[in-house]
Structure formats: C-alpha cells, structure tokens
Symmetry: C3
Subunit: 207 residues, 3 copies
C-alpha cells in the first residue's frame, strides 16, 4: 500500500512538472526556464510547507527522485508538446490526483507536528495548490487558482473532511483514501460541469 501511494506521489510530481513545462512553453522560455518552472511547479507547494514548519531540509533535497522525475516530466512535455492537447484530460486527471494526495500529505504533516486544525488544513492546501501559484508568479501571471477555477477550495474542503475524520478517531489508510477519493470526485465534477463560484461583484462593469 505504501508503494501504491509512493507511485501515485511520483505520478503527481510528473503531472505537475508537465503542467509547469506547458505553461513555460506558452511563454516561449528557453529550455532551462522551462525546466525551472516545471521543477518549481512540482515541488513548490511541498517546499513552502517544509519552509513554513522549518523542516530541516525540504523534502526534495533529501530524496533526489523528485528532481529526476521533474526532469523526466520536462523532457516529456518538450518532446510531446504538439500531441499534449489530446493528452490534456489525462494530465488533468494526474493533476487532480496530485492535488488530492498532496493535500492529505500536507494535513498529515500538520497533525504530526501537533498544529491546530485550521493550520493543518492550511498546510494541506499549501502543499496541494501552491506549486501552481509559484508557477504563475514565476511566469508573471496572476495565479490561475485565484481567478477562475474551484481548485484550492476543494483542497480546503477535502482537508477539512479528513481532519474531522481524524479528530473523531477515524484514522488509518482507508480514511486517507476516502478523503483522497472525495477530493478527486469533487474536482472531476467541477471540471465536468464547469462549476464556478457565484461572483462577489455586482454585474455593472463600472463597479
């Protein structure tokens, strides 16, 4: 089971790296720029989490596999770029799996360090969603998740559910998998039915 999670985690890094590389290539960065953006997208959220809790060495410094997978994702994206439009659904699925898994990993880190619930959930969201924020800052865009997608909100919601399970003594692998499943399901529904937040702005443009 550990192994399955480990494989999924690697899959998440790979998908995040591809998402970063595609964004960087849209901006026509050179190959090094493409790799840095891909790398920052795939490990940025977890790095910010580790930095905020002052973990001795962020995770990818200790385990080089993450760097290699990010390199592989970049190479993959550069080579298969013309065909990746067709792959977009597969990528979106990977990205969603990554979001779900990283969220639960992040909440677990908060629980492990005995942090309050709201902080643990925040760590989950940071781990899952902030690689994309860092990607968008590096290519000088307003972060996408602030604008149109219900993305981080699902991470917050799923992390909250998982934390509620935890404080009610429901723990263990099946609870993790349940929470991961809920996040994936919600995200797929949101994408499928193009659900978005009701606007907090009044209709008139002059506002």
């Amino acid at each position: 089971m550990e192994e399955i999670i480990s494989y999924i985690s690697i899959g998440g890094v790979f998908a995040f790296a591809i998402s970063g590389a595609l964004t960087a290539m849209e901006k026509r960065l050179d190959i090094f720029g493409v790799f840095i953006i891909a790398f920052a997208t795939s490990v940025g959220g977890g790095s910010l989490r580790d930095v905020l809790i002052a973990n001795k060495n962020v995770f990818w410094l200790i385990e080089p596999a993450y760097t290699y997978v990010a390199i592989a994702g970049t190479v993959f994206a550069v080579i298969f770029r013309p065909k990746l439009c067709k792959l977009k659904q597969a990528l979106s699925l990977f990205d969603t799996i990554g979001l779900a898994l990283y969220t639960i990993i992040g909440v677990n880190v908060g629980i492990y360090y005995g942090l309050p619930g709201v902080s643990s959930i925040a760590l989950g969201t940071i781990t899952g969603a902030f690689g994309g924020v860092i990607r968008d800052i590096l290519v000088n865009d307003v972060p996408l998740i602030f604008k149109k997608e219900i993305y981080a909100t699902i991470s917050i919601f799923g992390g909250s559910i998982y934390y509620l399970f935890y404080v009610n003594d429901m723990q263990g692998l099946w609870v993790e998998l349940l929470a991961i499943g809920i996040i994936i399901l919600l995200r797929l529904l949101v994408v499928k039915f193009e659900i978005s937040f009701p606007s907090i702005y009044s209709k008139d443009k002059g506002n």
Copy 2:
C-alpha cells in the same frame, strides 16, 4: 498591558487583511483568491521573518486566531466593500498601527536572537512592511511601497530609534510604546502632508 498590545496586534491583522481583500477585489479575483491575498497580506511579513530566522513553525501555524481574524477581515471587506471608501481613513490608521507594532515586534525578535543591529532593524521592517510586498507580487503589481509611499522607510527609521534606545539601556514597555508612537506620528504626518522622497532621477523624460 500585554492584553492591550494583543488587541492592537489583532487589529493590525484585521486591517492588513482588509487592505489585502480590497486590493484583490480591485483585480476581480474570486472569493478564494480574495481570502488568500488577505491572508498573505496580514501574515506574510511575520512569516517571512520567521522563515529567515528558521523559527520552528511560523507564528500563525501555532496560533489559529490569526487565521480566523484574517477570515473575518475578508468577510468584512466583501460585505462592506461599497462603503469602505468612506472607511479609508480608519483603515489607514489601523494599517499604520499595524506597521508600527509589527516593526517593534520584529526588532524585538532580532534582539532576542542576539542578531546585529542592522539585521534586527531589517527584521522589523520585513515584519511590518513585507505583507504588502507579498500582496502586490501575488496580484502581479510592482510593490506599492517601492514606488510612491514613504512607508517602509518610516519602519526602518522607527526601528533604528528603538534599537538605539535598546543599546543605551532604555528598555521596557514604555520604550516600545514610545517607538510605536513615533512611527505612527511620522506616518500620519507623511500621509497628511503628502510628503515623498526627492526624486533620484533627472527631470528629462529621456533619461
């Protein structure tokens, strides 16, 4: 007295959150984006300080009240947005109080860790002024404080005064309150009389 400072600190977080939320709404971000910007504005400066000194867990992870106050500030800003123009002076006052208090808190952290004076003063300025820098980076603006306001400079000045008091054995609550008062007063004067730096650029546009 401790309690008074605690209340003011919460007031500062609240004001900074509102300032962040207003900026985000100008950019027409969705409700989640508005909250994240508000949160980053209110805790960003202190987080950067804690990260630079590798404090085990940044302050808001341990004390959930900051997150709740940031949420409250966001909700307040969203609901009262049409009326907040009239409140701008009140907000500016809160923001100034926050700047002053955060600056002194930051300098105290540097002193506590035995850092050199210039580093302690830098930590004060980072704590007081860099929430706004992070806010502006997230919404893809050149940070406001780099451009037109004498804001961080007052923080540097007030922090320096406070540190000078400290090395001359003037310590204790009244010295803190004096330095906080100096920062608030200077900021109010700068805003009132629209004082700005003399330009370092020559007049001709071709320069």
Copy 3:
C-alpha cells in the same frame, strides 16, 4: 587564501547589488525601492538556499557586512548611474565572478549537509542565480535568466563538474578555484560569442 575568497565574495555582493539597483532605477522606483531590490538581488539566492536547508538564521542576518556592502552598492549605483553604461563590462565580470563563487559555495553547503549530488548542485545554482530571479519578480518582469541568457545553465554545469571532482576524491582549495575558473571562462565565452540555446520551438510564429 581564505581572505582572497572573502574579498571576492564581497565583490560579488557589491556587483549583484549594483545590478539590482540599475534594474530598479530603470523602473524608476524611489530610493528605498532601489535599495530593497539591490539588497534582494545580492542576498536573495543565498537566503533561499539557507531557507531550503532550514539553516538557523540566513547568512546576512548573522554577518552585517553583507547589508553594508549592499547599501554601498546602491549608493554607488545611484551616484554613478550616468557613467555605469561604460562600466557595464566591469560589472558583468564581477557578476560572473559572483555567480561562479556563489555556485561553489552553494554546492559546498549541500556536501556539508550530506545531501545527494543533484540536490547539492541545485543548491549551488540557487545560491548563484536566484538573486536575479527574485530581483525580476520584485520588479514584475519574467526572470531574465529564463529567457535569453545561458547563465544558470553554466552554474549547473560548473557545479556538476565540481561535484564530480568531489566524489572522485579531488578536494581542496585548488579544485574549488578550478571549478570557479571554468564557470567564469564559460560565461565569458557565452557573452563574447553571444551563444544561446537552440530554440525548442518551431519557427512559425503561429505555433
């Protein structure tokens, strides 16, 4: 010899500070903004490195000389701005020396903490090249090194060479100087002959 390296390191900070100040003045920031950009450019890469390894206190907090040199670099750039065009080659040389030295310092930090090779090399590149990335983010540009210069790549290459020396039991000051020399030489060649990466994009603009 230690002293020579220390002088070069100070020279690197000075050159990086000038590079940051010049960028900030192009954006016509006020004097405070110019200083902050200069400071972030000169200590940003090393700060990110120290934060990622959760070093207790980033380097410039403990050693105030870095801050003073950054202030001196800013003042120098502001005063001699009209003449700095002619100085550009000298600056580029300093910048290159800084890149080379910082890269090797960063790799050494990774080795010291027993990190894997790929992580140590990443730390070297972050130390050498990311001050410039932070500079460009703060002034709201897409980081220059992502776009047109073979800059960070040379840092990666030189850091890799140095690490290969290290694992083959070639250690000591002369190995460091050799690696530093290789980086400086490569960078000078790239600038001199205006070498750039072959594009990963097809020629047609519609791509």
